[in-house]
Amino acid sequence: MGVSASKVIEVTNLAKSYGTIKAVDGISFEVAQGEVFGMLGPNGAGKTTTIEIVEGLRTADGGSATVLGMDVSKHTRAVKERIGVQSQSPALFPGLKVREMIKFFRRLYKKSVPTSHIIELASLQESQNVLFRNLSGGQQQRLSVALAFVSDPDIIFLDEPTTGLDPQARRAMWEVIETFQRAGKTVVLTTHYMEEAQRLCDRIAIMDYGKIIALDSPQRLIESNIKESAIQFKMNEYPGDQVITGLPDVSKVIREGDDIIVYTNNIPSAISGLLGMASQRSAELSELSVRQATLEDVFLKMTGKRIRD
């Protein structure tokens, strides 16, 4: 997205503490109109708190958040009329039918899209008279996301929109989001799926301990952080970090449970070093694979954690 596009979200020095814990520690970012903006980070990094302040659900201790030119803390209701929100858990009335739920939410806004449109978005044509509590987990999730579109909003906030969906439903959801974006609307998204972030997001902010530690397009995040390729394998007996980094052309090693990930600029040289070391120690290498670095590797490198933890 070009810098010339108008900014629909501007966050400046935003801060929020719970007791002595700084959940959001003075962060700033902007989101342009028509952009899909991703927020990644381990649990507790401050993503949800940040989003909830921007949505007007929480008040910040410091800094400011402006949405569609309005200060959220002052024009909270006006902002809420023009945004759509999907929360992490499908928090809806268990005793309402799908159609009743949509009608309920439509009545909360000044303008709204037709009920049938939301039913279609959620692919719940067959279940529109089923009680929410009798829907499957995936159906509940789809309704929860579709309801974010009920007011024909300018910006939607999606907190892990595809968690709990099967791959087919996940792809369908991506198409919904991309259609929304093509209409010139803006999306703010958190996700645990790297593939999803890489496909959907124009820019990604990686958060950890209440701060934004990186903010760029997915491609540039990878290129500027990891120039190497990754070799991933298992070993029945780990010799220690020093032994592995001592091998030729190995720049870094990370252990992820049973997996060992080695970064290198020279794949043949690194592999032959690893194999030699293994036969010397009578150890066995298994499940060896070589791949380009991904967002997951960037995330691991920056936070020391896997994104799903």
């Binding site: 928090a91 009743e100 909360l108």
Partner: protein, 366 residues
Amino acid sequence: MRAFGAVFVARYQQFIRDRAALFFSFAFPIIFILLFGWAFQNMGTQTFKVGLADEGSPLTTTYITIGLNSVVLEGDVKMFKTEPGDLDDLRAKLEKGDLDAVIEIPAGMDTLAARGASDNVQVYYDASQTVNQQMLIPALSQVISAIDQQIARYTPPIGMNPQSVQSHQLRYIDFLLPGILGMTLMFIGVQGGLPVIQQRQAHIIKRLGSTPLRRSTLVMGDLLFRMIVILASAALIILVGRLVFDVQMVGNWLSLCGIILLGSLVFVSLGYLIAALVKTQESALPVVQIVNLPMMILSGTFFSVASMPAFIEPLIKILPLTYVNDALRQIMVSGTPLHSMTTDIAVLAAWAVACLAITIRFFKWD
């Protein structure tokens, strides 16, 4: 207004699918009325033998004798058979079960009015005969207070109109129905805190917080719906009582509505108070029971508060249901006007204000 309607409709749609809520709001009170009404149907024509021990006030003793003998039940049956005698002899008969109650009229009662003093007659009865006491003690106290009023007005009590006493003849169902009514107001009101906790726990209130819906609209829509449920339930209880058992309603209908609304407000506030202090539904359920059950038993729903042991009296006197039941019963059974029950109204108003103040102070939306 649209949002208010949305909240109201959503509450209704959920309520009609909630079998437990429907049961406690409508079926439960009706079952109680029918069961107790039929079980004690014949108690209205039961007669009582009352011993009168004159300890030196012959005039008052005569008044009371005439008063008791003038209470006539259906079929011209006298409700009380009086037996004058010595206090010790009469009490011995009471213990043997030959008498239902003994009234001791102390010396000096005859000149009380002239002296501007007051004193009590002493009533002895078998407290284990609980069900009898439901009718006996209230009926006795009605007769005695009627005599009392006559004396206070310096009018000879002999001229007392027996018809007026007869119209106040109290059957158990007449006593019970206002109690069931009060108990139901309590059940619906206090249990109303549970959906609030459930919605908060399931993050539904938070989800609604991201829409333009005002919290005040959410509360008002919820409140109005629950008031309508309470009024519908109260109307049903009174209707069944009148149609099936011809239950008494001596007082003013508007006063009755007023007390029903005030009582509902107290218990709805109590429900919100629980929602403010308790975080999870699992822990709220026992709290609701702890609030409801003692009141249901102690506050004069099924038994007169007067038949409770003295040591529980301080507890009974702070429970709001005691005052709701008393006020409802006074209106329905005695026709007491609102301005004569300022204590009940003041205590209930204080409860409502206290509950709402604590709720506002401690309630958390997420």
